[in-house]
Structure formats: structure tokens, C-alpha cells
């Protein structure tokens, strides 16, 4: 491929690709996102490829394996276009029938269609599925239109046109003012106005400046950045190059979690392609701009999601944050002016340039513009990645998109924003997805994790879970976080193990507020949020643990006992085989019993028994 040297050449090339592609042809799209990979979508794709090669369909039907479509619960997913037929939970054995009937004859394979659990009716097309219908598809929906390995796919949907326009006709200052007019705020958690960062970095003194893409995504329960970087890596690169033009940077880094090998691979190959086509390197599109990007792999430290710690890690050091009074836009990586944004933020930039700031600002609320990708997980029917306009009520996300609670259980709460966020009760689900509103209520939108919890989730245990996480991940540099989180965990552990005292509630609040006010970095400052928000909204659960030695959800092992109900047990022996501690005795077809001396209350028998004979009290 010869380098593309100008805006005109890019336009002609894009038109050529579109013309070359037979729009009448049948396109089979297989989702290759992380969820579908886990359900072996590659076997389905391989079978489809084999079937296409072996039949006379060559040229009439095309196969595209893409990044994440979002509806992980239904994986592996095959969508047949132009008719938009959606097949879910497809197995390799289904492929022949799909090709024979749907591709060749235009018939529908009924048994593979999605069944809406709320109505019991089958749904024919992807666009009619409630999970997708209530979303605002702008960023994530591009995933299904591109093979992440194909530059041609990205160019065919107008890729790099925003970059070409910027380089040909928009001054750096004007780029920044457009981003400002769009109201774009950082998607990584802080919600800082992106344009303000860019402008300060542009104004900072220094020959060498850097842009960084934060793809560390350390929040447990978050995988939207993975979805974007793996599925549409060029959109991230294009955003970074536009950002580099705006601030005057020549070098960029993508800092990716090592736990995401596919994201590392896709980012690297996209960079190589961008170099070949002349979107990275010297004299980009004939503009005289020089810029290149490298990929760095993170070492699996949560704190490296914090900007100053991430920069220390990029320098090859231990990832410890530093005080924020020295701004990274002036003294960042190697003490030089640096702009750091997360994956989703960068990926929004090309669309803002292409569609205009007003288009972007037209979505969302007063202070939260555009859309947000959320990772919808936990005790909800439809799990996956969803994209909604800011301002969408949490209830819409949980009930309409998510389909409500699983296994007939009532939803109790959502946890948003990972370890920096908090838990909100069901009574507050009419609150909108919004940076400032959730913050005022003691939680935050954070990077977009949304974990749904039901009556089987103990909120005190959740607070303990996050404190344990933060204790493990605290870098240890500042005292409030290192020792404060430790003490918070100690008290919450006391409560979950039956040693709680009523006065500890006030102590938790006081200590939590002290840590929030005095910790060094953003992660430390927000570390008490999970405990403070559960204290605020689920005080009765803390009180039940402290005053009655009772865990209402039956989760805290020190407060419960396991037994087997003599009336329900049919003596099948499943629990006996399952117990890793040999704590269950009994003969075939006779009542089984639990030896409380040996029982560790791990809960395995509970998940194994098909007859609900294991009782937790």
C-alpha cells in the first residue's frame, strides 16, 4: 500500500473501497469480543469460513469477524446483513444450517433467534432486540462495522477523514475550541474537561510533548476500554493523532493492561498499519506533522490507572503517584508536558470533528455531554457493554436494557464506578447517568462499570470486598491510604465476623472522611466511597450484622450455618462429591448431613444442590 499523502487521496481511496465492495452481497458478522471469545466464537467463525470456501458462495457472501457488539450474554453472535437477522448462542454445529437456509435461501432458522424473556416472543432482527433498542449507538456500534485487523474497513466507514480535515484546514487552537464546545469530559473516571487539559498542555513550555492513551482499565467490573481498543483500534489512534496535532506532540504511548493480550496485539498491528498508510510517522498526509505511537504493557497494578503513577510506570519505575500540585500537562512524562486521556475519550474525538461539536453537545445533560459506554454486569439478565446518552436513568439501563434481575430475584442496588465509586439503592434508580449527579449522591460514574446486586448480595461484604482490594492495591506511599484503608478494613471485617460494636458505624464515617480528605492521589481520596455509600444507603444491613449477629443475605460466613433440610434432600450425593473439605456425609438415597467441624461455609454445596436442600441460616 503506497502512503496516502493528502486529504484528496484519502477521499478517493475511501470511495474506491466502497465501490469495490458489492453492497448487495450477504455479510455475515461474527462478534469476536472477549465475551464471545470465551464462548468459542472463533470455532463458529472457522466453521463459517470453511462452509463459505467449500460452497459456491464465494463472492456472494462475506464473513467479518469484529470486536465486541456488546451483548455478551448471547455469545457467540452471528448477524446476517442486509436483513439484520440476529442469531445468538450459535454453536459450530449450527453453521451448516445457517449457510444452507439463511444465506442461500433467505430463510430464517427460528431456533437460533433471540427470545425476549419479558414477552416470550422471538425477535427477528438485531435492531428490534430491546437490549440494543434503548441504547444510543455512536461509538461502540462502530465495532460491528469493522474488522479490527482491516484498515480498509475503517476507511470505508470514513476513518481518518477527521484527521485529514484537521490537518488540511483546522488550526490546533480551533481543534481545541471545537472539543471545548462539544463539552467532552474524560471517560476514565475523573470527568475532567478534555479541552482544558489540551489547552494547558499546548500552552506549556517545552520542545517535546507527549500524548498518552490510558488503557490500563484496572477497575474490576469494567471492560469498555477493552471493547473499544480491541474492536476499533484505529478510532483510538485517530483521536490521539488529532490530539497530538492540537497540543503539538510528536510522541505518543498507549499503556495497556497486560491482562488484555488481544488489546495489545490489536493496538500494535493498527499502529503498524497506520505507519504504512502514512497516518503515523513523518509528514503525515503532507501536513509536515510528525508523530508516532508506541505500546507499553502495564504490570498489573491498579494504581497505575492514576495518571502520575502511569507515567512513572512508563518511565520503567514503580508506579507510585505524586502530589497533583505539579500538573502533568506541564511536567508529566519525563517531566515534559503530557496529555493523558483514556481510550473512550480519545475514540470520541474523530466523531466530534466529523459530526460537529453541536451534534455531540446535543446528547446528554447540562454538564455531561455525549454518550457513555457502561459495563453492565452482575445479577441482571442481559449482561454486556451498553452505550447510552448521558442523562439516561439508571432504571432504563438495568430494567430495559438489562432486562431486570436474574433468576426471579429482585434487584437491590447497583455499584458504579469500581473501587472509587459507590452503591446506590433501587429507590434511586431514576437518577440519570451523569458525572455530577452520581458524585453528589456518594457514588460516581467512574470509568463506567455498573454491577447489579440483588437480595443475595451482602452490602457489608461488598464494602469489605472493595476495602480488601484497595488494601492489596494501595501503593503504600501515603499514610492515609496505606493505614486508613487498613483500619477501615479491620473494622468492617469485625462487623462481618460478628465482633461489630454500634459505635463503629460513626468511627467508619469519621475515618472514611479523613482518608477522603487527606490521601495523596485520586484513588486514595475515593477509596472510602464503597464503605461510605453502603453506610449511607444500607445502614440497616450494618445494624443487622452488629446488633443481631445476622447477615440478611446469608453471605458472611461467620454469621451463618449450613445444614441440609431432611425433607428436601433426596440423597443424590452431588454435594458429598462437591465438598472439597469432605464435610458432608451420607449414603446414596439417604439423608446427607454436614459436619460443622469440617465445614468452611464455602457455599459449594449450596450451588451444587439441584433441589435447594442446603439451607443457610
Amino acid at each position: 500500500m503506497p502512503k496516502i499523502a493528502s486529504f484528496a487521496e484519502l477521499k478517493a481511496f475511501g470511495e474506491q473501497i466502497t465501490a469495490d465492495r458489492d453492497n448487495e452481497a450477504i455479510l455475515m458478522t461474527v462478534c469476536g469480543g472477549p465475551g464471545c471469545q470465551a464462548t468459542r466464537c472463533h470455532e463458529v467463525a472457522a466453521e463459517l469460513r470453511k462452509e463459505l470456501d467449500s460452497t459456491s458462495l464465494n463472492g456472494k457472501a462475506r464473513l467479518r469477524v469484529t470486536g465486541c457488539h456488546g451483548f455478551c450474554e448471547q455469545g457467540p453472535i452471528v448477524v446476517i446483513d442486509p436483513s439484520n437477522i440476529f442469531y445468538g448462542q450459535v454453536k459450530p454445529a449450527d453453521v451448516k444450517e445457517i449457510v444452507d437456509r439463511t444465506v442461500r435461501k433467505g430463510e430464517v432458522v427460528e431456533r437460533l433467534l433471540y427470545v425476549d424473556p419479558s414477552t416470550g416472543k422471538t425477535v427477528l432482527t438485531e435492531s428490534e432486540i430491546p437490549f440494543y433498542k434503548a441504547q444510543t449507538p455512536t461509538l461502540l456500534s462502530q465495532n460491528r462495522r469493522v474488522d479490527p485487523w482491516s484498515m480498509e474497513d475503517y476507511l470505508a466507514i470514513g476513518g481518518y477523514a477527521a484527521l485529514a480535515r484537521v490537518l488540511a484546514e483546522i488550526d490546533p487552537e480551533k481543534v481545541i475550541s471545537r472539543i471545548e464546545a462539544s463539552g467532552l469530559r474524560g471517560r476514565g473516571g475523573g470527568g475532567f474537561p478534555t479541552a482544558a487539559k489540551w489547552a494547558a498542555c499546548r500552552a506549556a513550555h517545552g520542545e517535546e510533548k507527549y500524548v498518552i492513551c490510558n488503557a490500563d482499565e484496572g477497575d474490576p467490573g469494567a471492560f469498555m476500554d477493552r471493547g473499544v481498543l480491541e474492536g476499533n483500534p484505529h478510532s483510538v489512534l485517530e483521536g490521539m493523532i488529532i490530539g497530538a496535532w492540537a497540543i503539538g506532540a510528536n510522541e505518543g504511548y498507549i499503556y495497556v493492561r497486560n491482562e488484555y493480550p488481544m488489546a495489545v496485539e490489536h493496538a500494535k498491528q493498527a499502529i503498524n498499519q497506520a505507519r504504512e498508510y502514512g497516518f503515523l510517522g513523518e509528514d503525515i498526509l503532507g501536513s509536515g506533522m510528525s508523530f508516532d505511537i508506541q505500546v507499553a504493557r502495564g504490570g498489573g497494578a491498579f494504581v497505575c490507572g492514576e495518571s502520575t503513577a502511569l507515567m512513572a510506570s512508563l518511565e520503567g519505575k514503580v508506579g507510585e503517584p505524586r502530589p497533583k500540585d505539579v500538573h502533568t500537562v506541564e511536567h508529566g512524562l519525563w517531566n515534559r508536558p503530557t496529555t493523558l486521556n483514556n481510550v473512550e475519550t480519545w475514540a470520541n474525538v474523530p466523531a466530534i470533528i466529523n459530526n460537529g461539536a453541536a451534534w455531540f453537545a446535543g446528547m446528554g445533560t447540562d454538564n455531561s455531554k455525549g454518550t457513555k459506554i457502561l459495563a453492565l454486569t452482575g445479577e441482571v439478565k442481559n449482561t454486556g457493554l451498553v452505550e447510552v446518552a448521558f442523562g439516561t436513568p439508571i432504571r432504563t439501563v438495568v430494567e430495559e436494557i438489562g432486562g431486570g434481575g436474574r433468576n426471579g430475584r429482585a434487584v437491590k442496588a447497583v455499584q458504579t464506578g469500581g473501587p472509587s465509586g459507590g452503591c446506590l439503592p433501587e429507590s434511586m434508580f431514576d437518577l440519570p447517568v451523569d458525572f455530577d449527579v452520581l458524585w453528589e449522591k456518594g457514588s460516581m460514574i467512574g470509568s463506567g462499570g455498573l454491577v447489579v446486586m440483588d437480595e443475595n448480595t451482602c452490602m457489608v461484604d461488598i464494602a469489605k470486598y472493595f476495602l480488601k482490594f484497595l488494601q492489596d492495591e494501595s501503593c503504600g506511599k501515603c499514610v492515609p491510604c496505606r493505614i486508613g484503608v487498613d483500619r477501615l478494613l479491620e473494622i468492617v471485617t469485625d462487623i462481618t465476623e460478628g465482633r461489630g460494636r454500634p459505635e463503629q458505624i460513626e468511627l467508619l464515617k469519621e475515618l472514611g472522611e479523613t482518608v477522603a480528605q487527606t490521601a495523596l492521589c485520586g484513588l486514595g481520596k475515593t477509596a472510602p466511597n464503597p464503605v461510605l455509600s453502603t453506610l449511607r444507603y444500607f445502614a440497616e444491613e450494618y445494624e443487622a450484622h452488629i446488633n443481631e449477629n445476622r447477615c440478611p443475605a446469608g453471605v458472611c460466613t461467620e454469621l451463618v450455618e449450613y445444614s441440609i433440610d431432611a425433607r428436601t434432600c433426596n440423597g443424590c450425593g452431588a454435594c458429598l462429591k462437591a465438598c472439597p473439605y469432605a464435610a458432608i456425609q451420607g449414603r446414596k438415597d439417604k439423608l446427607h448431613t454436614i459436619d460443622l467441624e469440617l465445614c468452611t461455609k464455602c457455599g459449594i454445596c449450596l450451588t451444587t444442590c439441584n433441589d435447594n436442600a442446603v439451607v443457610v441460616q
Binding site: 472477549p34 465475551g35 474490576p220 471492560f223 482490594f469 464455602c602 459449594i604
Partner: protein, 159 residues
């Protein structure tokens, strides 16, 4: 075939900022960071041995001990926790008789936990030798571990 230390260090010598990238490659290709590897990396990049150890200890991606033939990674992310990661961890601990991060005496299994593997929609998730197993239950985990054991006994096992 694992790349030798020489190959990994090529083009990165005397560049201290390459430390983490180099250690990532050594960990990936050799399975752990041996004492000799750490000494060589220290000398080649110009980073004091103490600093190399500090970095190696700080990041969870690095291990200073060789790992087992089969690596079982249990995700402890929020979504996995809510959907029952604890019984899975208990199942694995009980069956393998090791602690988190430890390797069985016969060198067959290493049991690791991870903060989040990013496949939260299909929680709880267990990874065996890089292959994801979604919507895991203790019974299926037991079957998985027993299958590997059986294959090893029959001599058909492969990591």
C-alpha cells in the same frame, strides 16, 4: 521456543525506562524472573539490582518462582465476586491443597487470582492456560481440574 535474554535485550541496552517491558518479555518467555535473569537485566539496562527487585515485586505480572505446568487463574473482579467467585476459589484451594499464588508440590498446577480479567459479562470466569471458561461453577471447575489430572496420568496432557 522462548527468546533468549540476549534477544529480549537487543536494542534496549542502557535504556533504564525499558525495564518493565524487558521484564514482561522475560516473564512471558521464561515463565518467571530468575535470579540470573534479574542480574543480567540489571547490568544491561543500567538499573541497580535493588530497583529491579523493587519493580518485580511491585507489579503482579512478575513472579520470582517458576510456575507450574498448568496455570489456573481465578478472577476476583466485582462481577465475579457477586456471582460466586468465592466458592470457586475455595473449590480450587481445597482440591489442589495450595494457597493463592502457590504451585502444587508436583509442579503440575499454579493457582493464581486476578483482580479482573475483563470478561465480566460472563462471570464468574476461570482461565486455564490462557483459555477462558465462562459462567463457571464449582462442579465444572472440579471436572476441569480432574480432566487435566487424568490427561497427565495418561500422558496426554499438554499445557
Amino acid at each position: 521456543m522462548a527468546n533468549s535474554l540476549d534477544t529480549i535485550l537487543e536494542g534496549r541496552r542502557s535504556q533504564p525506562h525499558q525495564l518493565i517491558e524487558v521484564l514482561q518479555d522475560v516473564q512471558h518467555d521464561h515463565g518467571y524472573l530468575s535470579r540470573e535473569a534479574i542480574d543480567t537485566v540489571s547490568e544491561s539496562l543500567g538499573v541497580p539490582v535493588m530497583e529491579v527487585y523493587r519493580v518485580a515485586n511491585f507489579y503482579t505480572a512478575f513472579t520470582l518462582e517458576p510456575r507450574g505446568k498448568h496455570v489456573i487463574t481465578l478472577c476476583k473482579g466485582t462481577a465475579c465476586h457477586v456471582r460466586g467467585a468465592n466458592p470457586l476459589i475455595e473449590q480450587a484451594l481445597g482440591l489442589l491443597d495450595v494457597g493463592e499464588g502457590e504451585t502444587t508440590e508436583n509442579g503440575l498446577f499454579t493457582l493464581e487470582t486476578v483482580n479482573c480479567i475483563g470478561t465480566c459479562a460472563l462471570a464468574p470466569v476461570v482461565v486455564l492456560n490462557g483459555v477462558y471458561h465462562p459462567l463457571m461453577t464449582p462442579a465444572r471447575l472440579r471436572a476441569l481440574i480432574n480432566r487435566v489430572r487424568r490427561e497427565e496420568e495418561e500422558g496426554t496432557g499438554h499445557a
